[in-house]
């Protein structure tokens, strides 16, 4: 297979990369564009560390060929903050201590961000399910759920 040109937006900016069609989105984000906030923790689409948002949906970027994102908009953890202002879920993570080693955190934030933008009065079970695909070995998840809960209850506003 020949290399192809991929044009897409990442965190609001246009990018053009020349890639092998089998290249994963996770590789393009990290290795070609240098957005190393997105992590990888398995080879089996199991850990969620590489979760990003594609057109608003949370997706594990190791499960998507980059070329499938032609003309789409991808947001990574680096895209959550605007001009130095953290997003509500980022601030809620700080207040609730919802991270420890921090390696799963970018993926967690992306899953939570997609969930929060859609959820209407979600239950605790739904909040837990929203991060079901993300493994955290440090926190035991409850502090992450508390952060999601605080944001869905409107305790944090966009700055």
């Amino acid at each position: 297979m020949e290399k192809q040109v991929l044009r897409f937006k990442v965190n609001g900016d246009e990018y053009e990369v020349f890639i092998h069609p089998k290249t994963l989105l996770a590789e393009v984000i990290r290795d070609h564009l240098g957005f190393t906030g997105t992590k990888r923790g398995c080879e089996t689409v199991s850990c969620g560390a590489c979760t990003v948002n594609i057109n608003g949906f949370s997706v594990k970027s190791c499960s998507v060929l980059a070329i499938q994102c032609q003309d789409m908009e991808v947001t990574t953890v680096e895209g959550l903050e605007k001009n130095g202002k953290l997003s509500p879920i980022q601030r809620a993570f700080l207040d609730n201590g919802s991270y420890q080693c921090g390696f799963c955190t970018p993926g967690m934030l992306m899953s939570a961000t997609a969930f929060i933008s859609e959820a209407k009065n979600p239950t605790k079970e739904q909040m837990k399910e929203s991060i079901e695909g993300n493994v955290c070995r440090c926190t035991g998840y409850n502090s992450i759920v508390r952060a999601i809960e605080a944001v869905t209850q409107g305790k944090y506003k966009e700055e």
């Binding site: 990290r30 240098g34 957005f35 190393t36 906030g37 997105t38 992590k39 990888r40 923790g41 398995c42 080879e43 089996t44 199991s46 850990c47 560390a49 990574t76 953890v77 680096e78 959550l80 903050e81 953290l86 980022q90 993570f93 700080l94 207040d95 609730n96 201590g97 991270y99 420890q100 080693c101 921090g102 390696f103 799963c104 955190t105 970018p106 934030l109 079970e125 837990k128 399910e129 991060i131 079901e132 993300n134 493994v135 955290c136 070995r137 440090c138 926190t139 035991g140 998840y141 409850n142 502090s143 992450i144 759920v145």
Partner: protein
């Protein structure tokens, strides 16, 4: 002892690395990319036990893009181990010369311009093997006729450990009731989110710089220097952010070693990152243990004696397993007073993945056996499990004979709180039960098997002209929040705010040596070093304050919230920033600098201080499927004075999730030495939907040896959970779970056996 009112300690402080972590700025070894960097991959043994007859690397070297292939012959062949003081326990060549001893053991390494080429080259390395007979279980490997795994090691016994106090036999004679049980405790993968990773860069002036995912930059520096024939000072180890450790990342690993060996030959940076599968099959695991436990007790519930024999599956090499052997035996006695106690532990080599330390350090296994057996004894004799634990539990001022002195102990309050909580739950529905388990844990080990000539912990603090503070520590933040804890202790001691402190850690070139993050040592040991360093700096500042303020020398001065003042008349003083400027001028422009250290002396055999806790697990069993649902976990916890409020909650909730995983989900089945589920699809860890509420009741105590009265939190709470779940199932279903993890199959088997016994 009364607690002082603190300005910073135990207040709501954000983790000082928090913004970096929630914005993607935190750069882990996994993210490091250097100009001209090559990518390394490791060829691993497909055999559990085999002689290496020949390795032919010709075809691999011919692959375009491959820069080097190395085998054991390209190394100094030094046998290494973290128990550096004891030559016989340094038994592991990271790239072995003569034979392999487990499936997954490194055999050769390749560096190439891309990871894909390096991976492809592995298939082109031709290894000629002579396969040897292998043995996988300790009780088989210890037999006379078993194959020899390490030359000269009789019956494959790697290390033994005997612990004894009191007249055990006489104490057993006094017992009215004696019970014996056998238990089988499983291994567990640390499963750090960041797999083992290292980037090594060797330059022509003979200096090696290594970014490593490590729990101890100092250990990594020392171990690498040893196997590479370099001076420690010529090896710089950087570990800015580490994606989890849990006891699995303070030995020398193949990512560190192979990247360094190849970089030294090529003078180019080389990066090696383990795949998740490699991390499962070739990173040492929690030690599997077989326990025989015999306990003697009086009718009134007074403990007389305990005698235990433990055989652990050591796997192919020693690693930290020798320490786990000792600590398991010690904490198996916890948290109770035994007139007579005897433990004999045997760590046995097998042809499996080596075992080592993991959060809890042998104690979760020990407690699974001990705390269940105590409940069964209570049932046998009609005694109250709370009352029996209260009656025999450690108390302040108790000495574990010849082993440990207990200066602070909140065990009784923990038991009282959990008893109240359990009783408040009332009668539970069918198939549902609450189980309890208590335990204690150390606040840093006092052992020096690494033979460090440095203090166990050190800190250097310097104060800039504007009053900001540079705190240099060797303790390692692996996510547990030690940088924040140290910043809190520094801010409290100096009388400034957390945002005034910049913590420098994870760099052997700029930070003082420290043994690192293991054995729950950093809050107490590094915390004391930081406190001492800050007290030193503060004393120098206050000397100038006395001169500047012209006050009676008998007055006490202090600094709080950046205000230097007379303690008895807090309104009289001057701003901290002004004082710093003047002090600097008076010292001919030298910055104020304080130094602190901690090395334990006369603190017994194990640790300077012990945390205590009791946990209750509320669980339900589906009698049709054997499936377990955890409803809630509640813990009463004595960690002395809490320092880092958010960090403490996070550590305790995290411990509960890891310990629940160990109790009923995380299984590592091996067949003929091969791990059957080395991926995150088949290896089940707790995920958000399974995680129950895990509440905490903090018990107020003060530990005189700890900084501001603090002691261990976060590791010890992995100890009680498996036993508490076992006891919950016993209370719900009347079945005794003697094997970990408590899987649905094991539950169903126990239910069937119970039914048959009733017939």
């Amino acid at each position: 002892m009364s607690h002082a009112k603190y300005s910073v300690i135990n207040t709501h402080v954000h983790n000082i690395d928090g913004v970096a972590k929630v914005t993607g700025r935190a750069t882990y070894t996994f993210d490091v990319k250097l100009p001209g960097m090559l990518y390394g991959k490791i060829l691993r043994s497909p055999h559990p036990h085999a002689k290496i007859i020949n390795i032919d690397t010709t075809r691999a070297m011919e692959l375009p893009g491959v820069k080097i292939v190395v085998t054991g012959k390209d190394t100094l062949g030094i046998k290494q181990g973290i128990w550096r003081r004891y030559e016989e326990l340094c038994d592991e060549q990271v790239l072995p010369l003569e034979k392999v001893r487990y499936i997954g053991e490194p055999v050769a390494a390749v560096a190439a311009v891309t990871e894909e080429i390096a991976e492809a080259a592995l298939d082109l390395i031709d290894v000629e093997w002579e396969v040897l007979p292998a043995v996988y279980e300790p009780l088989e490997a210890i037999k006379k006729e078993a194959p020899t795994i390490h030359e000269g090691v009789e019956r494959n016994v790697n290390v033994t450990r005997h612990i004894e106090w009191g007249d055990v036999d006489e104490a057993f004679e006094d017992a009215d009731y004696i019970r014996e049980d056998w238990f089988k405790c499983s291994g567990q993968a640390h499963m750090c989110m960041e797999t083992r990773a290292a980037v090594s860069s060797f330059t022509p002036e003979g200096k090696l710089t290594v970014w490593a995912s490590t729990q101890s930059a100092y250990y990594t520096q020392g171990l690498l220097a040893g196997v590479l024939g370099l001076r420690e000072g010529d090896v710089r180890v950087l570990a800015p952010y580490v994606g989890g450790g849990f006891g699995g990342k303070f030995e020398l690993d193949a990512a560190m070693f192979c990247s360094a060996v190849m970089s030294m030959k090529l003078f180019k940076p080389v990066k090696v990152v383990f795949s998740r599968e490699e991390d499962f099959i070739a990173s040492k695991r929690r030690t599997p243990m077989f326990y025989y436990v015999r306990t003697g007790i009086k009718k009134d519930g007074t403990f007389c004696a305990r005698e235990s024999r433990m055989f652990s599956n050591g796997g192919a090499y020693t690693g930290m397993g020798a320490t786990a052997l000792y600590l398991s035996g010690f904490f198996h006695s916890f948290p109770y007073k035994w007139r007579g106690y005897r433990y004999d532990g045997y760590r046995v080599y097998t042809n499996t993945l080596p075992s080592t330390s993991m959060r809890g350090f042998g104690a979760p296994q020990a407690m699974f056996c001990s705390e269940q057996q105590i409940d069964w004894i209570c049932a046998d004799l009609g005694l109250d499990p709370f009352e029996v634990r209260r009656k025999n539990g450690h108390t302040e001022g108790y000495e574990v004979p010849g082993q440990a002195f207990i200066a602070s102990c909140g065990l009784e309050q923990c038991i009282n709180e959990i008893e109240k909580w359990v009783k408040s739950k009332g009668k539970l529905p069918a198939n549902r039960g609450i189980g309890i388990s208590s335990c204690g844990f150390m606040s840093g080990g006092i052992f020096n098997w690494f033979d460090s000539p440095y203090s166990f912990s050190s800190a250097v603090v310097t104060i800039n002209v504007d009053g900001t503070v540079e705190l240099h520590v060797g303790c390692q933040d692996i996510g547990q929040g030690s940088n924040t804890t140290m910043a809190i202790i520094a801010a409290e001691t100096l009388g400034v705010k957390v945002e005034d402190i910049r913590v420098h850690s994870g760099d052997t070139a700029h930070c003082p040596a420290d043994l690192g993050a293991w054995g729950s040592r950093q809050t107490l040991m590094a915390g004391n070093a930081v406190k001492m360093a800050c007290e030193d700096a503060k004393k120098q500042l206050l000397e100038f304050a006395y001169a500047e303020m012209g006050i009676n020398i008998v007055y006490d001065l202090d600094i709080k919230d950046r205000w230097v003042h007379i303690v008895a008349r807090p309104e009289r003083g001057l701003p901290y920033g002004d004082l710093v400027k003047k002090a600097l001028r008076a010292k001919d422009g030298q910055r104020i600098m304080g130094r602190g250290y901690y090395t334990p002396h006369r603190k017994g055999m194990i640790s300077p201080a012990y945390s205590y806790m009791m946990q209750a697990v509320d669980a339900e069993v589906d009698p049709e499927t054997g499936k377990i649902k955890i409803h809630e976990v509640m813990t009463a916890h004595d960690c002395g004075q809490p320092i880092n409020q958010l960090g403490l909650v996070g550590q305790l909730e995290g411990a509960a999730s890891m310990a629940l995983g160990y109790a009923y989900l995380e299984d590592m089945p091996f067949e003929d030495g091969k791990m059957m589920n080395p991926n995150l699809v088949d290896y089940k860890v707790i995920k958000a939907p399974e995680m129950p509420e895990a509440g905490i009741i903090e018990i107020d105590t003060y530990e005189p040896e700890g900084p501001y009265g603090a002691k261990e939190a976060g590791e010890g709470l992995t100890n009680p959970t498996a036993a508490a779940l076992g006891n919950a199932i016993y209370n719900a279903m009347g079945i005794q779970m003697k094997e970990l993890p408590i899987t649905p199959e094991r539950v169903l088997k126990a239910l069937r056996e119970k039914k048959e016994a009733q017939k």
